[in-house]
Symmetry: C2
């Protein structure tokens, strides 16, 4: 098995349109899980596809011995939706290489990263006949919808999944070639609200002025989420936030300028964020309230002079250590109901949620991961938190009682969740090297 | 020619999908204009379809004599879009009668109403061999997009269109069987703004907190259009508003309760409007700022945790006598630019606009119209303004120098601009009677 074959197989994996947020793709997720199961069996592991009330979980393991550490490698084979499709330069499920970079939905998030671990394991078994640790692969298909069934699965299979530490490559590198160890993540809590007014769209001339416009009310509720300093205006929202520690603020201040990076990567005309914090602190260490989608009324060309009968907004809150997603959803719902006038009705639907996570970056496991990263890239790793959310990592801690080493390979311009998602072949190859080095570092721990 | 034939022909007219806001239907508008031209020629008038830079204008006339009054009857054969199509109980362009009511897009607004006048004229010519007045029909295809080419057409054909008074049935009746004379209309000014932030949709975990969310900014700008008393917060917006006169407020206060009617007709949970005014005053005599459509980010099922790259809002302002649409658009644009942060860009596109209109309800022409309405319905007419806009009526005054008698036949629950638009056959027949009575009343004026 050589690098070309690894790439060919990655492309097969990337071709499955395994979009978990849309029920239409359910069968594609199942096919993708089936293909991974066969692949894992073929490299010398014992793999099985487990049904769940949602999409399947794939588990694979080598023969476990009592005299060595057990390492669980987690990944997810589901991907984000692809819209707006018209902004993709190449079809999202036809992987295309240009200038050494793979373009495909899921190339970075997360197929490319977990498949590098699979290839690393395959190479080690092929070359050495065995691995230096007891290994478990756990690959799920519902990460992009908040892993709704994985915690129950962990509880049900807790004996089978017992391990000393977990490895995940689903986080980022601060820059190409800069190994990055992530010791914390933000949590998340999602909700959608729908404002309903008149039974049908109304003529805005006939009724305008005498009835509430649901699109206006939705806009007012969204606008009311922040004050003029970009603090979140929901009562009690910050009550449980653990403040950033000074060593973190110092380390992050020494990284390449977050303002410049944010401006360059996003191409926004200017920055806007919570007063009193740097860009990196805002992205990694402070909670947010975002509207991910808003809609209501006429969406076509030109004008249609109506008062729409309803309007919606999809909100998500990124949370930091200390905050409870359930409590935040309660506070948000109370805030929205309090500020919604009686001239309309409001429906609120809670979505997925997950705790923030933080581990001791200077533990033995943390140092082992940092050493493997150093050898993989021949450079000193940086220690960061990340702004994204992998809610299951908190569940690992709660259910399996172990920490997770986040050794991500995603670059800042990987376009995760956006058109033209991409992953350099060099990072894929680094992931294969990292797997071998990391399993050895963990095996060597006393 | 009997009522059944009139109805059959109305159904043919209603079957043209003459949606002027969408370029896709251009040919259907042309076919509709062609059909009307043939119809008007067939009843003994001389009709011609005139091209414009937009959709055609149809003009028809009888033989004019210098010893009688000249009356111009205006109507429009274009209709509103049909979305949301799924809320229609019957196909919008397949007219369907249920319990004496015609269901079709355009049945009330405006095909049913102007075609009643055509049928009235046809009956009079057939029975009397002539009409009591010099008649001009002027039927346009761009009313729903603000009649962008009709004012130029009026100027170009001013001699041909010279008349003493204009008649339009494109307004409402306050209740079934209550003849209603409308002496004023609100004006309109439309604009769309687009907020642009990051070059592409961003992962809300990776960047959330450090960049402005265009959907949030759009919502804040929409929310900033009103203060807490539902006054419009644009600086200078009310400067030129002519206040309601006391006789108007008294007449309207004597009409059936506007609050109850608004609640019943719209099925809103509660009313909301400018403090200090009744529902009818808010609808007929006060200006508004409405969002007709808002959109940005993820619109599908479930969640997609992005910061959208852009968001838009389509606004329309209803204006009252004294206000200049051009000035209002300038004020609105200045307000939006002033309140838009530099962390995003804003694009503003002005849309269609038209002045408000008011005439002397107690003039001779006004009294003649009220008398014809009294005879048509055997009941005393009520005098109202309306909240909707027919910008061309101001153009008639400016270009042709004459007033317009608005004798509308639309019922409050006609669903104009909404799914299941409808028009009772009884109102269609009343329109045929009204045409004959009104032309005679006008002929009888000294």
């Amino acid at each position: 098995m050589n690098a070309i074959t690894h790439l060919d197989e990655l492309f097969t994996l990337l071709a499955f349109p395994s979009i978990s947020t849309d029920r239409e793709y359910k069968v594609d997720l199942d096919h993708c899980a089936e293909w991974l199961t066969e692949k894992l069996n073929s490299i010398g592991l014992t793999a099985e596809k487990h049904p769940t009330p949602g999409h399947p979980v794939v588990i694979a393991r080598n023969e476990h011995r009592t005299d060595r550490k057990t390492v669980l490698i987690y990944g997810h084979y589901d991907v984000q939706p692809v819209d707006p499709l018209e902004l993709w330069n190449t079809p999202p499920f036809e992987p295309t290489v240009k200038d050494g970079v793979i373009y495909a939905r899921g190339s970075t998030d997360n197929k490319g990263q977990h498949f590098a671990h699979i290839c690393g394991v395959a190479d080690t078994i092929k070359e050495d006949g065995d691995l230096p640790v007891n290994l478990i692969f756990l690959l799920e298909g519902e990460e992009e919808i908040g892993s709704p069934h994985l915690e129950a699965f962990l509880k049900e299979h807790a004996d089978e999944l017992k391990c000393d530490v977990i490895v995940v490559s689903d986080t980022g590198m601060v820059a190409p070639g800069v190994p990055t160890f992530t010791y914390g993540l933000r949590g998340i809590a999602c909700l959608e609200f729908i404002i309903k007014g008149p039974a049908i769209d109304l003529h805005s001339g006939i009724y305008g002025g005498a009835v509430a416009n649901p699109a206006t009310i939705a806009a007012e509720l969204v606008a009311g989420l922040h004050d003029e300093n970009q603090h979140i205006a929901i009562e009690g929202f910050y009550d449980d936030v653990l403040p950033l520690e000074s060593w973190e603020r110092e380390q992050w201040a020494a990284l390449p300028d977050g303002d410049a990076a944010t401006l360059k990567e996003t191409a926004v005309p200017g920055l806007l964020g919570e007063q009193g914090y740097t860009s990196l602190e805002r992205r990694w260490g402070r909670p947010t309230a975002e509207v991910n989608g808003i809609g209501g009324g006429y969406q076509g060309e030109g004008s249609k002079t109506i008062i729409p009968s309803e309007a919606f907004a999809k909100l998500s809150f990124r949370l930091v250590p200390g905050q409870s997603p359930a409590k935040i959803l309660q506070l948000a719902e109370a805030h929205l109901r309090k500020h919604c006038p009686e001239s309309v009705t409001i429906e609120i639907h809670a979505g997925h949620a997950g705790n923030a996570y933080v581990m001791d970056a200077h533990s033995d496991f943390g140092k082992a991961a940092q050493s493997a990263l150093q050898k993989t890239f021949d450079a000193d790793p940086v220690l960061i938190r990340e702004g994204g959310s992998i809610p299951i990592i908190d569940s690992f801690k709660q259910v399996l009682g172990v920490d997770t080493l986040m050794c991500g390979l995603a670059l800042p311009d990987c376009q995760a969740h956006a058109p033209n998602e991409n992953f350099p072949i060099a990072n894929f190859e680094a992931g294969i090297r990292l797997n071998r080095l990391l399993l050895q570092e963990l095996a060597d721990l006393a």
